[in-house]
């Protein structure tokens, strides 16, 4: 056998060994391998507290001399009405804003209001952030252009 052919045989032998090593180890590590990932799980606020408070306010007949939804639908004095609701909820340990508006851009998503609407604040809202907001519709008594107005609540924690 010639010298060169011996060297060639050794090279082929090592190459085949390395490929075999890669092949076997890839099978081994694919079985042992773990996918690593970090998942941040965030629980979405269901808004139950917000909607439930609004529905209770609208159905109550203790705040005004009739059902709140009827009174708000008949009266245009939004600020006085909101203050009366606020007084009624004085002992409620909640921090919130209540607003009344004539329009709502998207009731399906959620009405986002700015401060230009009639709004009252309940509790200490400083250093607290808004956790959820919700809106419900009220039927207006005098129904010339729009028959609907909206009561909004923003909860702060």
């Amino acid at each position: 056998m010639r010298k060169g052919s011996v060297a060639s045989m050794i090279e082929i032998y090592f190459g085949v060994m390395i490929i075999m090593f890669i092949f076997v180890s890839s099978i081994y590590f694919s079985q042992q391998g773990e996918f690593r990932s970090n998942a941040d799980v965030i629980a979405v606020n269901s808004g139950f507290e917000c909607y439930n408070n609004l529905n209770n306010i609208l159905k109550s007949d203790k705040i005004f001399d009739k059902k709140t939804s009827l009174h708000l639908g008949e009266s245009d004095d939004d600020l006085t009405n909101l203050n009366k609701i606020d007084q009624h909820l004085l002992n409620l340990n909640l921090n919130f804003k209540l607003s009344i508006s004539e329009d709502c851009e998207s009731f399906e998503e959620n009405c986002e209001l700015d401060d230009s609407y009639t709004t009252i604040s309940h509790g200490d809202l400083s250093n607290k952030e808004k956790v959820i907001s919700c809106s419900l519709a009220i039927s207006k008594k005098v129904c010339e252009e729009d028959c609907v107005k909206f009561l909004h609540m923003e909860l702060y924690k």
């Binding site: 090592f14 998942a39 965030i42 629980a43 808004g47 009827l70 009731f107 039927s139 609907v148």
Partner: protein, 188 residues
């Protein structure tokens, strides 16, 4: 180049590539999972259906109040037109929202009491049954297969199919102008 060298270089290249892949995937992936979205939608639809019921009752009250000067058929016509007009103004609150007129068929009943001049008005979702007419092989016409059209508001949301049945029942004055005229005549 010798065959051995080629295989050797190839295998070293393969090891290098595999190492790069391993190093690049070593860092764990980060992602955020939000849970409770379905519950949020369910809460919203449940609460809004309650608000819808309040809206139905209030709209019926206002429609009855605005119809108080009429009596009989005029009262009924005026009431239904105004009530449905008001209900159609309820804002869209889910994707497949249909206005009141097409979402639920309501059966109205009016019971006038001439002694007290009070009318009892009620509205409940009505089950409309549509009869399909068939022609049999011996040319005899008969009705068959009754089909329900609507008696509730159906919300076809992505996560739930939700039905609710709005209704109202109220007492209202009617024929008010005549009562006032009669009283004035009585006073004179």
């Amino acid at each position: 180049m010798k065959k051995g060298i080629i295989i050797l270089l190839y295998s070293i290249g393969l090891v290098a590539v595999l190492s790069l892949i391993l190093i690049s995937t070593y860092e764990p992936q980060n992602f955020t999972v939000e849970i409770g979205k379905s519950q949020k939608e369910l809460v919203k639809l449940t609460e809004i259906s309650q608000n819808y019921q309040t809206f139905v009752e209030d709209s019926a009250n206002y429609a009855a109040y605005d119809s108080r000067f009429y009596s009989g058929n005029d009262f009924e016509t005026n009431f239904v037109l105004e009530f449905e007009e008001r209900m159609n103004e309820y804002p869209k609150f889910y994707k497949d929202f249909t206005i009141f007129e097409y979402s639920v068929n309501m059966d109205y009943t009016f019971e006038f009491d001439d002694e007290t001049n009070l009318v009892k008005v009620s509205g409940f979702p009505l089950k409309i049954v549509d009869s399909k007419i068939y022609l049999s092989s011996d040319d005899v016409i008969f009705e068959g297969e009754e089909e329900l059209i609507r008696s509730y508001i159906l919300i076809n949301s992505s996560i739930i199919n939700f039905k609710f049945y709005p209704y109202f029942e109220l007492y209202s004055e009617y024929n008010v102008a005549n009562i006032e005229e009669n009283n004035e005549e009585g006073n004179i």
